[in-house]
Amino acid sequence: MADYRVKIAGVEFENPIIAASGSYGFGREYGQFYSLDEIGGVSVKGLTLKPREGNDAPRIAETPMGILNSVGLQNPGVDYFLAQELPFLKQFKTKVIANIAGNTIEEYCRMAEKISDSAVDMIEMNISCPNVKEGGVAFGVCPATVEEITRAVRQYAKKPLIVKLSPNVTDITETARAAEAGGADAVSLINTLTGMAIDIHTRRPILHNNIGGLSGPAVKPVAVRMVWQVRQAVNIPIIGMGGISSGEDAVEFLLAGANAVAVGTHHFVDPMAAVRVMEGIKNYMNAYHIERVCDLTGAVQPY
C-alpha cells in the first residue's frame, strides 16, 4: 500500500492535494460532487477582517489556456467564516487552511489571533492579491516588507503559518527567503500573475477592474520554475500551484520541490479536478513503483 500522506509544518495531510484559495469557496459547492475526505486540504476563500463585497463585474476573462480574474476578495469576513463555515469543513478529514488578507499589518495580526483560537489547521497569509487597491500585492513584492509582516503575524499565529508568494517580482527567491527569515513555517506559490485583456470592439478592458490575475495552464511553466528556484533557496516546505490540471502536472511540481500541490482554476473545467489529479498521481506512483509520495519532492535531476 503506497503512502500518500505528506507533512507540512507538523500538520499531516492525507494526500498532497489542496484546493487553492479562491477557487473553492468554503468547500460546500465541490463537496456536492465528492466527499472532502478525498483531498488533503482546503485553502478557503481569502478572508478579511470585515466582510467585503469585492469588485464590480465583469470579474473574469478567458485568455489563451488561462483566465484572468478580479473578484477583489469578496468574502463574508473572518468572524462569519469561523462561526458558519468552519464547522462544515471540520466534519471531514481534510485539513483547513484559513487564507487571510489585510489592508494593514495590524489587520493580519488581528485575524491570525482570532483564527488561532479555532479548529483551523493552518493559516495562509495572502500578501500577493493583485485585485485590491490597498494591501494585498503591495505587501508581497518587497522582501523587507515580507519579512516584517511575517514576523509580526508570526507572534499572533498559534497555528503553522504559510506565506503565499507573488510571482510578480524580479526574483521570487528573495521574497521566499524573507518569509523564511520572518518565521514562516511554509510558503505557497504562485499566486496569479497580473494581466489584462481588452475588447477591441468596445476598446474597453474586459475586466471592470481593468487588470486581474492570470491563472490556469498558461502559467504552469512559470510556476514550476519558481517552485524549483524557491526549493533551492529555503528549507521550509512548499505548496506548489499554478495551472495544475492532471496528475502529471502535479508530479512536475512535486519533482520541482513542492511538498504538496494545490488545484485551482481546473475546478471550473472539471468539478472532480482535485480527485482526478490525485488519481493521476497514484497512477504515476504505481507505474514507477514509488512507495511514498513524499519521495517525489525535489527529485528532479537538473542538468
Binding site: 473578484v71 474586459i206 473545467v269
Partner: protein, 254 residues
C-alpha cells in the same frame, strides 16, 4: 451532483449563426425548470471554461438549447454532430417561479434572451408574450411561441411586427390590461426598462440576468450582480447560484 454526459439528438442552424440543439440526457431533462442553465464543456479546441447556456425547452429525455455563435466556445459547440457526447453541469441556478404568475402574466424577451422563455411560456399557459429582435432575419422560435400563447413581436428596424422597442408594446399592454407578473430575459437596457415599467404599474417582476461566469455553481464568485437587500444595503450577488432569475425590484442597474 455530478457531471452529466448527454448525446446530441439533433443540431441545426435555424437562422445564420443561431443553433438549435437537442441533448438526450435522461432524467436531467425532467428536472429542468424554465430559466435554468447548463454549463457546457465546449470540447475540440482551446476553450478552457465551460459556457453557460440557458435551457430553452425540456421534454421527455430531451434538453433543448438555442444559442448564438459568439466566440470560441460557441463556435466549437456549433461543430457538434448528432450522436456526439455533450459534457455539462446542470440544470443549474434558480429559474422562473411560475407559482406566483397570477392571472395575467407577461413574458418579455429580447434577442438571445427569448430562448429561455419558451419553456416558461409552456408552463404558464396564460401568458401574453412580447418578443424583441434586431430585424426580421433574427426572428427565432416565433412560430413556437405563437402556437402556445398570444405573442407580439417588435423589431428595431421595423422589418417585422412593431417598429421599435419591445418595451413600448409592454407599456401599451400594461396601460390597457394591467398584469399580475412580469417575466423577462434580454439585454440589460431592456431589463432596466422592464424594471421601470414594473415599478410604474405596480406589477412584480422576475428578471433573468447574465454575466461572465466561471464555475457555474457558486464557488468562484466571478458572476457578480448588484442587488439591494430589504434593508437597502447593496450586495454583490451571483448570477449562477443566486440567479440567474432575480426578483426584479432587487436588481441594481448601473
Amino acid at each position: 451532483m455530478k457531471t452529466m454526459i448527454g448525446t446530441v439528438a439533433y443540431h441545426r442552424e435555424i437562422v445564420p449563426g443561431i443553433f438549435d440543439m437537442g441533448i438526450d440526457c435522461g432524467e436531467a431533462a425532467n428536472a429542468a425548470q424554465a430559466g435554468q442553465f447548463v454549463n457546457i464543456l465546449c470540447e475540440g479546441g482551446d476553450a478552457l471554461l465551460r459556457r453557460p447556456i440557458s435551457v430553452c425547452d425540456a421534454e421527455g429525455n430531451l434538453l433543448r438549447i438555442v444559442y448564438e455563435v459568439k466566440g470560441k466556445g460557441t463556435t466549437l459547440l456549433s461543430k457538434y454532430q448528432v450522436g456526439q457526447s455533450v459534457n455539462f453541469l446542470g440544470p443549474l441556478g434558480h429559474g422562473f417561479d411560475t407559482a406566483s404568475a397570477g392571472e395575467k402574466p407577461l413574458v418579455i424577451g429580447g434577442g438571445i434572451g427569448t430562448y429561455p422563455l419558451l419553456l416558461l411560456t409552456k408552463k404558464l399557459n396564460n401568458a401574453n408574450v412580447f418578443l424583441g429582435f434586431r430585424d426580421k432575419n433574427r426572428l427565432t422560435l416565433l412560430d413556437e411561441f405563437e402556437r402556445i400563447a398570444n405573442t407580439k413581436a417588435a423589431t428595431d428596424d421595423g422589418s417585422f411586427g412593431y417598429h421599435g422597442l419591445v418595451t413600448d408594446l409592454v407599456k401599451t399592454h400594461l396601460e390597457q390590461h394591467g398584469g399580475s407578473m412580469i417575466y423577462a430575459c434580454g439585454p440589460k437596457p431592456m431589463l432596466k426598462a422592464v424594471q421601470a415599467l414594473a415599478a410604474q404599474y405596480g406589477v412584480p417582476s422576475r428578471l433573468s440576468m447574465e454575466e461572465r461566469m466561471g464555475c457555474g455553481i457558486g464557488a468562484c464568485l466571478v458572476c457578480a450582480c448588484k442587488t439591494k437587500a430589504a434593508d437597502g444595503q447593496v450586495h454583490q450577488s451571483h448570477v449562477c447560484c443566486d440567479g440567474p432569475v432575480f426578483d426584479g425590484k432587487t436588481i441594481v442597474f448601473d
